[in-house]
């Protein structure tokens, strides 16, 4: 396993990056808590958040398992090299799954513990931050490994998800902010 760990490190999945990803997740939770305590409620958006996270997990599995365009996946390439690619791939997938599941569980718990109301502004803020920190976590935490695992199809699908997560909330947030200010 020594050579796999070395490759893992070289791909950017270092301890520092994983800590950074956890910190990003922590900041997300903190903002979520502040919003909840301040307004004493949490959006039903938790379901939306959950849906996004499930989609993120699915996309990562899609990217890891299948590449529709004939491009060699990262784990497939490693079979030609003197390194146990299966182990490296499992390490990457394991971290992505754990990170996403923790994020999902925390979100769900907070939604149901803190209650639900219809407040568009906080829906927007939380969804925006969810998307931002989830992706930040991925890119900080998994570096090039994740970039290589994503096949062209998955990247395209991810782009749609990211647009949905950012563009729509930004639009709603913008409208709400304008209304609040005017």
């Amino acid at each position: 396993m020594a050579r796999e760990k070395e490759l893992f490190q070289r791909l950017g999945i270092t301890k520092t990056r994983r800590i950074a990803a956890c910190i990003a997740e922590g900041i997300y939770i903190l903002i979520f808590l502040i919003a909840a305590v301040w307004k004493k409620s949490i959006q039903v958006e938790g379901l939306l958040n959950t849906g996004v996270v499930i989609m993120a997990i699915s996309l990562n599995y899609m990217a890891c398992i299948k590449n529709q365009n004939g491009e060699l996946e990262f784990s497939e390439i490693l079979k030609y090299y003197p390194v146990d690619g299966t182990n490296v791939y499992k390490m990457i997938r394991g971290i992505i799954v754990k990170f996403t599941l923790v994020h999902w569980c925390v979100s769900l718990i907070m939604v149901y513990v803190l209650g639900k109301t219809e407040q568009i502004l906080y829906t927007t803020v939380v969804v925006l931050l969810t998307g931002f920190f989830t992706n930040l976590g991925y890119w900080i935490g998994y570096g090039r490994a994740v970039k290589e695992e994503r096949g062209r199809d998955a990247s395209f699908s991810t782009s749609i998800v990211v647009c949905f997560m950012f563009a729509y909330p930004v639009l709603i947030f913008g409208i709400a902010a304008c209304r609040a200010l005017l």
Partner: protein, 251 residues
């Protein structure tokens, strides 16, 4: 050619493939053999040609051999078996094929730094020097390279760690005539020191007429003929003898 190990045992140098078999398995569990009963040896200092019709199993043989994924048989390099120490064997194998076994969304330089560095004796400077010699920029992304450029990049990659065995699957496909000549010359230089060997699979049989020392003809997953070009030439005693002629005759 053999060498003595520390305990005095005699180890045959080179690649040895015995009773090699690879089959595709359908969703119903049926096995369809792509290659069967493959036996050959590659001694250092020679270029081995591999020819066959489309669908003969050349690429399947090469890919399953390099990956160490086969159903039955025994593969060893310098006495070290693939079944026991696949990583040690792969350390001395290099492949040139399409698609490239490189990270598509990284630059050529980054591929050296990530994948090349897996090899114990990787030399990034040699690799980048060869890239430049072949007219490639180290900052170019692999996914933006043409087929010919990919072959050049892989050849340069091999120069970074100089494996004992190069296995090349249609390496001159996509190369312009000028570079094809350089490429063939490079392969010849590679084996000149008597320490390296090349397995050269191609449909361009004229290339093999020029450089191959030995020839294997694969047909429907089995080796029909395996021997030195010189012996085959003498055996068939044909004025128009060539690899192409032999392939037409046997298949």
């Amino acid at each position: 050619m053999s060498e003595n190990t520390l305990d005095g045992a005699c180890v045959e140098k080179g690649l040895k493939v015995e009773d090699f078999q690879f089959a595709y398995t359908s969703v119903f569990g049926d096995e369809k053999f792509a290659v069967k009963n493959i036996n050959f040896q590659m001694k250092p200092g020679y270029i081995y040609g591999l020819v066959g019709r489309n669908g003969a199993g050349k690429t399947t043989l090469i890919e399953s051999l390099i990956k160490g994924e086969y159903m039955k048989g025994h593969v060893s390099l310098n006495g070290v078996s693939m079944e026991d120490s696949s990583l040690q064997v792969k350390e001395n194998l290099g492949i040139i094929s399409y698609p490239a076994k490189l990270l598509q969304k990284e630059s050529l330089q980054a591929n050296g730094e990530f994948l090349g560095a897996i090899y114990a004796n990787w030399n990034q400077q040699e690799y980048e020097k060869k890239l430049k010699e072949f007219g490639l920029e180290k900052k170019q992304m692999v996914k933006n390279l043409s087929k010919g450029e990919i072959m050049k990049a892989q050849m340069a990659f091999i120069w970074g760690y100089k494996p004992q065995i190069i296995i090349a699957d249609e390496p001159t496909s996509g190369l312009d005539p000028k570079f094809r000549k350089i490429f063939i010359q490079t392969l010849q230089e590679y084996v000149e020191d008597g320490e390296h060997s090349v397995l050269f699979s191609t449909h361009i049989t004229e290339d093999l007429d020029q450089v191959a020392d030995y020839l294997m003809v694969l047909h429907e997953g089995k080796i029909l003929c395996n021997g030195s070009l010189e012996e085959l030439r003498d055996y068939y005693n044909e004025d128009n003898f060539s690899v192409s002629w032999l392939l037409r005759k046997l298949t």
